[in-house]
């Protein structure tokens, strides 16, 4: 939907924002309420209908229900950071047609190699081949999706927006985690734990990214921020690897890991994820538009101060 916004100041864009945004907003609100109600209650009665919600966990009890907010926020945050990484690479690569072509080939090669490798190379315990293969394809697919939908200058806006919203979702993960861990593990935080530490480091990296964006001069921000985003994203596998050999207390991941889950719980989880993704999309969309408008205003100000004759200035 973003490409419609690219034609700056067009009537279509305003119309779309005016019409589609409230409708999508209401739909998302309904979805969020529905997802929340089935996450909180084993059985839901609405309008004479009886819906099956998430069953109560046997050992943990109702505390486990925070899982339906914790995990979808984590997935949404990771997806947003992933988009930020892709957009940052594109901002750097597309400045020069030669590097652009080269990076495109490399991205296709990465997708093919990761997909093929997931079938032929034995993976460490706890990683499913299908999950690794899908990640490889997702990376390539996302890269070309962003490449067709966004112009070169807009990839910077996209990177800024996804980092901001991603930090908020990552913060939700970091807050809900300890709330769950306190009654279940008996401690708020397990230092040195693989998933906890990698999420915290991810959050720190993107906070420093936002700080850099705020503190650099506007002309340089996109280049510096894109370079930092690429380095930061490269850091994540290292954190993950370095803590791989530590014990983890965190439950096994539901998707692509060794964990198992009740089908009804999975349904509720996916519903919540859908609701969270829609919410994140809407927030990103409005933030994206705001950022674009802000840049137009800045540009107009700069242009006017250039055109203004200093002798006639007030």
């Amino acid at each position: 939907m973003f490409w419609l916004l690219e034609t700056r100041g067009s009537k279509l864009e305003t119309k779309l924002m005016k019409r589609a945004f409230p409708i999508l907003g209401v739909l998302t609100a309904i979805l969020l309420i529905y997802a929340l109600s089935i996450a909180l209650n084993p059985v839901v009665h609405i309008f004479g209908l009886t819906l099956n919600g998430a069953p109560t966990e046997q050992t943990m009890g109702n505390v486990q229900r925070i899982f339906y907010y914790h995990v979808p926020s984590a997935w949404t945050a990771f997806l947003l950071f992933f988009i930020n990484f892709v957009a940052s690479i594109q901002y750097l690569a597309r400045a020069n047609p030669k590097t652009d072509r080269m990076v495109c080939y490399v991205v296709v090669a990465i997708g093919v190699v990761v997909f093929a490798a997931s079938f032929f190379i034995p993976l460490p315990a706890g990683m499913r081949p299908s999950a690794v293969g899908t990640t490889g394809l997702l990376f390539t697919g996302l890269y070309f999706l962003v490449r067709t939908l966004f112009s070169h200058a807009d990839t910077d806006v996209l990177a800024a927006v996804t980092a901001e919203v991603g930090v908020v979702f990552c913060l939700i993960v970091l807050v809900t985690g300890p709330i769950w861990a306190r009654p279940v593990w008996g401690i708020w935080w397990a230092p040195g734990d693989i998933r906890l530490t990698s999420t915290l480091v991810l959050w720190l990296i993107y906070v420093s990214y936002l700080v850099l964006r705020r503190f650099s001069a506007s002309g340089q921000t996109p280049h510096l921020a894109a370079a930092l985003a690429v380095l930061g994203a490269l850091c994540v596998p290292f954190v993950y690897l370095s803590i791989w050999f530590f014990r983890t207390q965190h439950p096994q991941p539901v998707m692509g890991g060794g964990g198992s889950i009740d089908p009804l719980m999975l349904h509720v989880l996916l519903m919540n994820w859908l609701a969270f993704s829609c919410f994140a999309f809407l927030v990103c969309w409005s933030r994206y538009r705001l950022e674009k408008l802000q840049r137009e205003v800045d540009e107009a100000h700069a242009l006017r101060s250039l055109n203004d004759d200093p002798r006639t200035a007030r």
Binding site: L92, V201, L204, I205, V207, S208, V211, L212, F215, S216, A217, G219, Q220, H223, L224, A226, A227, L228, V230, L231, G232, L234, C235, F238, V239, L241, S242, I243, F245
Partner: protein, 251 residues
């Protein structure tokens, strides 16, 4: 100040030479020549002023003394905490030196002169990294005896792998540090920006260094951590070299 201008003058000079001889500026010999000239200039400046090394030394000395007062560990305890202590002290001290590397080039617009000269940006970057590597290594060589004295350190196994950890660990800190220092001089509040950018990204390297040091002191193998550190060095050195031109010329 004349010496500060050396490298940019040499860069322009080498371009003139290159045009005369029709040689390519990306030629390894020219890259090496500019790197060597910049490195020599940095070392000479440091030798005469001793700004970076003195502040680093005093800073890490303070860290050693303050920590030894606040913990007062036994030999057994200090073996457990020394890895973390040593590397955190060196990281903080390195930031002091790293902040000065590029600030030095801002005087008399040397950095701008370098940017307009056709000299390859990466040779400047490599020279700066090598310079900082030398400074931080000298600091480590001088401070390690003090650490051993204050914390009564004695390795339970062979101690020579610590040299590998020190070399690769210092390289990891210095490559990222030089890169982010170049980034942070282009922002407002320069001195504060460097640690904000450097620390989150260095966490894996720092973790590997600390774990490797602790396991070596306790007489255990540290092969995994050293391999991880080398991989980190290779990946981040390559990426920094690829991205440095963007950061230097960001406008």
């Amino acid at each position: 100040m004349n010496q500060t201008l050396d490298s940019s003058r040499l860069a322009t000079g080498s371009q003139a030479n290159a045009q005369q001889t029709g040689a390519n500026l990306g030629h390894p010999q020219i890259v090496r020549g500019i790197t060597r000239a910049t490195l020599r200039k940095d070392l000479r400046l440091e030798w005469r002023s001793k700004d970076a090394i003195n502040s680093m030394l005093f800073f890490s000395l303070l860290v050693v003394v303050v920590f030894s007062f606040s913990f007062d560990p036994s030999a057994e305890e200090s073996r457990q905490i020394a890895g973390g202590l040593v590397w955190v002290a060196f990281l903080f001290a390195a930031v002091v030196a790293l902040n000065q590397t590029w600030a030095r080039e801002l005087r008399n617009q040397v950095l701008d002169a370098y940017r307009v000269s056709p000299a390859p940006p990466n040779s400047l970057f490599i020279a700066k990294v090598l310079g900082n590597f030398i400074f931080v290594s000298v600091l480590e060589a001088l401070m390690t005896p003090l650490f051993i004295m204050f914390y009564r350190l004695r390795a339970l196994g062979p101690a020579w792998p610590l040299l590998l950890v020190a070399a690769f660990g210092t390289w990891a800190l210095v490559v990222n540090g030089t890169f982010f220092a170049a980034m942070s001089i282009r922002t407002r509040s320069r001195e504060i920006m460097l640690p904000l950018l450097l620390f989150p990204i260095s966490i894996p390297a720092l973790l590997a260094m600390v774990q490797a040091t602790t396991s070596i002191l306790n007489g255990e193998g540290a092969r995994f951590w050293i391999v991880l550190l080398v991989t980190y060095d290779v990946v981040f050195t390559t990426t920094c070299l690829l991205l440095f031109e963007t950061v230097l010329n960001a406008e």
